[in-house]
Amino acid sequence: MKYKVILLSFIFIGLTGCANLEVSKKNNSAGEIIYKKNNFYKKYKATGVIKFKLKEDKISSRFNYKKNNDSETIDFLDFFNNTIIAFEVTPGVIKIKNAKKNINSQALKEIINRPIFKNIIVNFSGILSGNIKDKDSTISYKNGLYEKIKTSEYEIDYKTYNEMLLPTHLEVNFSKILFSIKISNWELKK
């Protein structure tokens, strides 16, 4: 596979594109659109894949995310469902629940060891659902669902939603670490 030679150019284009992002809210044509809003759930499971683009490396991991009120778990798995690393998050505390003895990916190690990774973990639920407290600006689709959210630390671009109005594909620019999240399954609990 030879994609990596040109990857840097894509990252550059991506960053330049983000820098020119328009941050005003779009107008909605009144009368024609049923206004919707992002749903924020307290108990749910989401499974999918997260793909990081870091320097020349392209690495990905599947994830199982579970939220139960203030308690969250995130398991990162490889393609064959082996756990790479799993976290338990309670307010203010991130605990490693389970980790491969040797995470033999330098790129993944580099991501995990960065302070920014903690922010991703802590904000994971907010990123998935759009439930973010300190938003600098937002852009919404015509139907009212979030299209982009910008905070002082990161930008999220919500690409697609499912019929339950839950996001299924988002792109995140988190302090120049670019990653995409695809959610294949949402399971909502009462």
């Binding site: 596979m1 030879k2 994609y3 990596k4 030679v5 999918g48 894949v49 793909k51 020349e56 490396d57 392209k58 690495i59 990905s60 991991s61 599947r62 490889d78 393609f79 064959f80 082996n82 033999n104 990916s105 330098q106 790129a107 993944l108 695809k182 294949s184």
Partner: protein, 129 residues
């Protein structure tokens, strides 16, 4: 290709350039011995790089070393869930007559990446069986 050769002559330890040239040859089914050497060197510099692991699997596939190729694709997929790696791995599994496994890998990838264009190619291969 000439640019890559030039780049390698200036920077012989450039794993990405070594891999790109080796993969290009492997993909064109030419200079397979040299391609294998270039990719081996890239792999010695970046042993856990998904793209290089995939190239190694692919050059072995082109050389008919199917059994050896499998481990490289498995390792590559552990680092990066990429349609090209999946496509190569499915092609290899079919060569190894592991049709059920090929379908399983295809469906596993499909569940999370239903809109991937490369899937059409994979589906076509599987439908031809």
């Amino acid at each position: 290709m000439n640019d890559l050769k030039k780049l390698i002559s200036l920077d012989p330890d450039n794993a990405q350039a070594l891999n790109a040239l080796g993969y290009t040859w492997a993909n064109k089914n030419i200079n397979l011995k040299d391609a294998n050497s270039y990719i081996d060197k890239a792999l010695s510099l970046e042993p856990n790089d998904a793209a290089i692991l995939d190239s190694k699997g692919w050059v072995l596939y082109r050389m008919g070393e199917y059994l050896k190729a499998e481990n490289y694709f498995i390792k590559a997929l552990k680092f990066s869930e990429d349609s090209e790696i999946v496509s190569h791995y499915v092609k290899l599994l079919l060569k190894l007559k592991k049709v059920e496994k090929a379908n399983k890998i295809y469906l596993k990838y499909l569940e999370i990446n239903p809109e991937d264009k490369k899937l059409i190619e994979i589906k076509k291969i599987l439908n031809e069986i």
